[in-house]
Subunit: 197 residues, 2 copies
DNA sequence: TTGAACCTAACGAACGTTCGTGTACTTTTG
DNA sequence: CAAAAGTACACGAACGTTCGTTAGGTTCAA
């Protein structure tokens, strides 16, 4: 079939990962086969194994790349000296931008992490849990300082995270509304609420 | 292995569907095998086929039962003579209650519908699209009547639907907060917003 | 005694992965 | 400078397993 096309900026392994993220998103991890992936990459299935060790490794790389970016962002924002409500807004903006930039990868890490093999599965779950706790802590600070309404912080975090992940659906119909507009809409609704005060 | 236990209220087929919903939620449709399902039901894999025609039929039933309830609810609410913001609130309350009651089924129909076979796949997608449009129309009415802030209605719908589906995560740690509390928290945040006005 | 419910055994298809080999560069050596 | 050795990458064939499903016989309640 021929070689995998690359330039100096991107390795053949990275090409496979990018295509895998797309395929896993489209079909789901289990339903996507290595033969299909090979087709998309333009090579025979066996040839993939010159670059990767297993199908599971692909999922692993995708999930942990995303998780790492989340953690880095949280480190930065926690260090900032701004109001809690502004921190919440900043986190939301990061999440939205991140989804727009790494659409396939984020989708896969959100929906297919169950298929990670141990011990990575536990590790991944821990990272997500920690992230949510740190997010909730910021909201609780905001409540104490009366910047944020008295709400159950962990519930608020769940709502915000899931609300943001709704962008995937939007992404399918790009034409209708652009990324920046979408971001503003989301912030308005989630931070300000629907009611016209 | 023995017979499937039933009473007069619930057929053997329904027992299989209930267990299938649980298994599909836990493992995903593709990763869940008929042999596993048989184990859970307490029977050999082949015996399942005395009650169902295929694995796909199980997914079909689960997805369309949920979709039907959504549509019925929308019919009712559209017919009501109340304010738009109150209709939105009612829809949200329905969605939350529905998730709490039919946790596994809703989860499966949300995440595994991709694996439906045609022509049911197209049918399902149409139903969901229609539902979102009707929801968006209610929000737009609210905007016209100045009950609701000027926001992009389709975006608002996506946010609300995904936010509500976040309850799944909550469901895993039932002890911490009960269903009614959760419902109030969600309405407060989604309708009223986070900011303390 | 009939029919629903279950069993064991087996089917072909698809899966992830391994193997041995071929080929075309690149590097090392005489 | 040319031959040899090494490396990177791709191939087709095959592996052992698991999958959904079917065929045909058995059990058991009504």
């Amino acid at each position: 079939m021929g070689r995998i096309k690359t330039d100096t900026n991107i390795s053949r392994k990275e090409v496979i990962i990018i295509k895998a993220a797309e395929l896993f998103k489209e079909k789901g991890f289990k339903a996507a086969s290595m033969r299909e992936l090979a087709d998309v990459v333009g090579v025979e299935a066996a040839s993939l194994y010159n670059h990767i060790s297993s199908k599971g490794e692909l999922l692993h790389i995708i999930c942990f790349d995303v998780a790492e970016r989340y953690m880095k962002m949280m480190d930065d924002i926690e260090a900032e000296k701004t109001s809690s409500i502004f921190k919440v807004e900043k986190i939301l903006r990061f999440l939205i931008t991140n989804i727009v930039l790494y659409y396939n990868e984020v989708h896969v890490s959100d929906r297919e992490w169950k298929h990670l093999a141990e011990p990575f599965l536990s590790d991944y779950q821990n990272q997500r849990r920690t992230f949510r706790r740190r997010f909730a802590a910021i909201i609780e600070q905001g409540i104490k300082k009366k910047e944020i309404k008295k709400v159950d912080a962990p519930t608020a975090v769940l709502i915000l995270l899931h609300a943001v992940s709704g962008i995937e659906s939007w992404h399918r119909s790009k034409e209708k509304i652009n990324g920046k507009e979408l971001e503003e809409s989301m912030i308005t609704i989630l931070v300000g609420g629907l009611v016209n005060h």
